[in-house]
């Protein structure tokens, strides 16, 4: 057994774990954070995506002991104070899910994308989510959901200035 301390969604957890315990199982079974899904269990689908020190990774392919001292964010950590985060809201507004199995991984990966690139193109969104597989939606609405979130976050950052707003075409050119 090994003693680990992991910061999960802002709270420190200290536990004795077997070295072979996968991070996904630690989160789901030990911490009861079942939002992190296990889909393929073979490192292919991204349903298990969490942020590790800010980077999206597959928690089915990392041991909990490797997360010792690191900061993990799961889908449960996205909303604050019962308030949906813009990406979650975007998935709701744009119908970015059907069965919802891939959704936590998608939202976590999209969170990392918008952190790095607040105004991604469709191409950039598809590229950033290319490690996350969805068997239902065909991805179109997932891309729309992320665009929705990007726009919402920009409007939040710069709430009002409608009079000076550039025409859409110029905005695109200056991106």
């Amino acid at each position: 057994m090994a003693r680990i301390t992991v910061t999960v969604n802002g709270a420190d957890h200290t536990d004795e774990v077997e070295p072979r315990l996968l991070l996904a199982h630690y989160l789901r079974d030990k911490l009861r954070l079942t939002g992190t899904h296990i889909g393929c269990d073979t490192t292919n689908c991204g349903a298990c995506t969490v942020l590790c020190d800010g980077l999206p990774v597959k928690s089915c392919t990392m041991f909990a002991v490797q997360a010792d001292g690191r900061e993990i964010i799961t889908v449960e950590g996205l909303a604050t104070g019962g308030q949906l985060q813009p990406i979650q809201q975007g998935f709701k507004e744009e119908h970015g899910l059907q069965c919802g199995f891939c959704t936590p991984g998608m939202m976590v990966a999209a969170t990392a994308l918008l952190e790095r690139n607040p105004d991604p193109s469709e191409e950039e969104i598809r590229w950033a989510l290319s490690g996350n597989v969805c068997r239902c939606t065909g991805y179109v609405n997932i891309v729309k959901a992320v665009r929705w979130a990007a726009q919402a976050m920009q409007e939040q950052a710069a709430p009002e200035e409608p009079a000076t707003r550039q025409p859409a075409t110029e905005q695109a050119a200056t991106r």
């Binding site: 090994a2 077997e18 070295p19 072979r20 315990l21 996968l22 199982h25 269990d41 073979t42 490192t43 292919n44 991204g46 995506t49 980077l55 999206p56 990774v57 597959k58 392919t61 990392m62 041991f63 002991v65 490797q66 010792d68 990966a109 590229w127 950033a128 989510l129 290319s130 490690g131 996350n132």
Partner: protein, 289 residues
Amino acid sequence: MFPAAFDYRSPAALEDVLDSLAAYGDEAKVLAGGMSLIPMMKLRFASPEVLVDLGRVPGLDAVQETPDGLRIGALVRHAELEASELLRQRYPVMAAAAPLIADPLVRNRGTLVGSLAHADPAGDWGSVMLALNAEVVARSTAGQRVIPVREFFTGPFSTVLQPTEVAVEVRVPRPSSRSGGTYLKLERKVGDFATVGVAAHLELDNERIGRAGLALTAVGGHNVVAAEAEEVLAGAEPGPEVFAEAAEAAARAADPPSDVRGSADYKRQVVRTYVRRGLARSLELAQAA
């Protein structure tokens, strides 16, 4: 799925890693990004008794440029190489390959050095490093040795590394100022291993080809150098004729398996086409440099 039980060591100093490996020999395995090893352990294709994690060893996570070239530490992830401006400017073969490896999530953990140590014949970095004539620096309690990548691979998933050795870095020689290169990969979908991959690198010397580096992915027991093709190119006047000749020679160096990704003949044809395209693109970049 979960792996067989193992002891976990996570030393904070390289010396302790080397001591552990010396003590446990082939019962131990080094863990870098874990993107090949952990899936294999979950499938119980690998059941090491001891896992020695490099994750907390300081000083292994840097990409450094020296007058001689690049030094890439054992913890440098694919994603960092994908984002590197330096690679885009001076090491275009690497810049072309990085975004084609696995998917973004795997690239956040997997390492270039681990990829070489893993020696998957369908791994992409192997060909890139062969084309660039890179070297692997290996350390053990017995000392350090520098292994040319061209002498590194011995077969599918096997290299000259000893169980007591850690590959601490890869050294990539600095290409001449008038050089160019690229990596072309045919994959069925994003995240797939190569059906065929071609790494091409050309250095110009007074409008003739100086050194040429050409290596192939997924068409043999390990990443292979198209040596005959390199000879055809060296000293020649660059252009479609000699590139076509090199493509034929490279196709002869390829011995691909027929499998779900395509027949051997098909893959050999992809080698021909990609070698021609890769060399043409390399030449363009070299002439623009």
